[in-house]
Symmetry: C2
Subunit: 352 residues, 2 copies
């Protein structure tokens, strides 16, 4: 071992869902939106002044923050933007979770929380979800160095009612509570309005799911200006210019077109509810998802077996080879056409 090797930060990285290449495949494995972003995005990118790329982008992301502040009816100094909600949450972990006490997050949840905690050497505890994958708010009443949970939760899709979210925030005013609302637009009630009432609340959202811009990497946080100021200080101590010109531009256009946004969500929700019905008919059970995916297990066939069969037929869903999760599949909601092909294969497979 070389002497400098002992100074390397040892981590066990998060493993993102596969990004298979090719056109003839159905990709229901990374909760992407099956519909393209708002048409204004295409137009704006085509019209970008290419000569300007030689210059640094606006480090304050001002234009994007402006449209977001109007959309959510908050002040501009109550919004922070980053390179996807992963960047936003990583920065928030670095900024807020520096206590000796453990932070708390559910044992079944976005698996990146544990990775960030380990990266930044943050102690953590993971209260156990019940057998129906429900969060029990009482598990979050103990002393802690911070709290984070997704709402709806991932990979279950289960929504915690806003009163229970508020209860967790209200009982933890000595900690920063982060509500990770990556999937909130698909049917939940956002905690954004609670940021007016609680200074310790940070709500994180993303353009990757409901706004069809995963490829552009845009996430944001809304909270009290003191929280936003602190996370901005850390951001400016890490990288002055995180958001590039096309991402800032597309973000603005995506927010502006609210009609397109709502229509596209409406279509996904409709397909999701139809998908639930079909899955039940085929012998699957699942928590009642309010997200753009369904976390399902079959009464007879093993999840891994179904996953592999689908994969061989170029249909990708997400399989987690982990305790408690390893007999479930996380199926992202695709277009009606894609779901038809998915069920077409599945019916044949399950009848054998």
């Amino acid at each position: 071992m070389r002497p400098w090797e002992k100074n390397i930060r040892r981590v066990a990285p998060y493993v993102p869902g596969e990004q298979p290449k090719g056109d003839n495949l159905i990709k229901l494995n990374t909760n992407e939106n099956p519909y393209p972003p708002a048409p204004g995005v295409r137009q704006a990118l085509k019209e970008m002044d290419y000569d300007q790329f030689r210059k640094y982008p606006d480090p304050t992301s001002n234009e994007l923050i402006k449209v977001l502040s109007e959309y959510y009816q908050v002040n501009e100094n109550e919004i922070f933007v980053g390179v996807g909600s992963d960047d936003v949450i990583a920065m928030a972990f670095m900024t807020f979770f520096n206590s000796e006490l453990p932070i708390l997050f559910p044992d079944v949840s976005y698996s990146f929380y544990k990775v960030w905690a380990e990266l930044f050497h943050i102690p953590y505890e993971t209260p156990v979800l019940d057998d129906n994958f429900c969060i029990h708010k009482e598990d979050y009443y103990k002393a802690n160095g911070g709290i984070i949970f997704p709402n709806p939760n991932a990979p279950t899709g289960l929504l915690l009612p806003l009163e229970e979210v508020e209860d967790i925030i209200a009982r933890n005013q000595n900690s920063v509570v982060i509500v990770d609302e990556a999937y909130i637009d698909f049917g939940g009630e956002s905690a954004v309005k609670l940021t007016r009432k609680y200074e310790n609340l940070l709500v994180v959202q993303t353009f990757s799911k409901s706004r069809s811009l995963a490829g552009m990497r845009i996430g944001y946080a809304i909270g009290h200006q003191n929280l936003i100021q602190s996370v901005n200080d850390v951001k400016y101590s890490y990288n002055s210019y995180t958001m590039n010109m096309p991402s800032l531009r597309s973000g603005v256009e995506a927010v502006k077109d609210d009609r397109y946004f709502k229509e596209s969500i409406g279509r996904i929700v409709k397909t999701r509810e139809e998908t639930k019905g079909r899955l039940k008919e085929l012998g699957f059970s699942f928590p009642d998802s309010m997200a753009n995916f369904i976390f399902a297990s079959h009464r007879e066939r093993k999840a891994e077996e179904i996953y592999k069969a689908l994969r061989e037929n170029h249909i990708y869903v997400r399989y987690f080879n982990q305790p408690r999760l390893d007999n479930h599949l996380r199926i992202s909601i695709g277009t009606d056409e894609e779901m038809k092909e998915f069920f077409g294969f599945l019916e044949g497979f399950l009848s054998n």
Copy 2:
């Protein structure tokens, strides 16, 4: 003070150069390239399949790494890419600088090094440059937890000959040595070839200066595959998808057009040398810059005074209100047209 406030990471952020808005100004303050990126960038962006933005980008940045590996004649597993060289260096600090011993970097240097060290709680020492702003390699012969320096140095533009760079690397094989080559393409000899010889060397470069893509945020590091693997592990523990689709695409096109790249550098170098001559005539002195900027002080007039006068006339240069630097201006090399206007104003101002 709220209880959670004591858990906030306290930092004094880096302050980036001003990004003034408007068209009628001459911007020589952030070392941007005065020429647009390679024409292929424009074309490629116009032709991007906008529907694909709904999907996540390639987390491995494979296409971009491939062209870089061909360009620099290294293996693909010897390259890491990030959101500008700031992101790359921040990740490298997090990955490699975890010793109890202080890391070393010059006292007059890229001021972000100190900010990163403080962000990550890394002890550091800053060997003092001599009165001519030269690095003395002997200052880097002591026990340390890592070394980083820019070559050419910023904001001086001074180049350390490759033999001296190699000497520092060779005498520090117990540490990781990072050579920050943000400006190397403007006249220096790169240390990339030394990565074959020294496993402890990481060379960092950027698309923001010589490749005219500051607005796109692309940086990269070249080093032994073990170093690259370690920094990738940290990256995948921080944010799986740092590079968005347009940045990956533009990066590829910029590397492909080597003729455009060299022509544009040739023009800047020519203008830089002419600028040196004109500055001398006007009573300025400066280290002999091998970068795309000149760090100059005037024999009679105070730097701050000149800076303010230029600014009032919509000509922006960089002024550092810091000990040792506060009687210098860092002047980025613009187009011949821009330098003509710069000198036009300066002549009038200095003759009053």
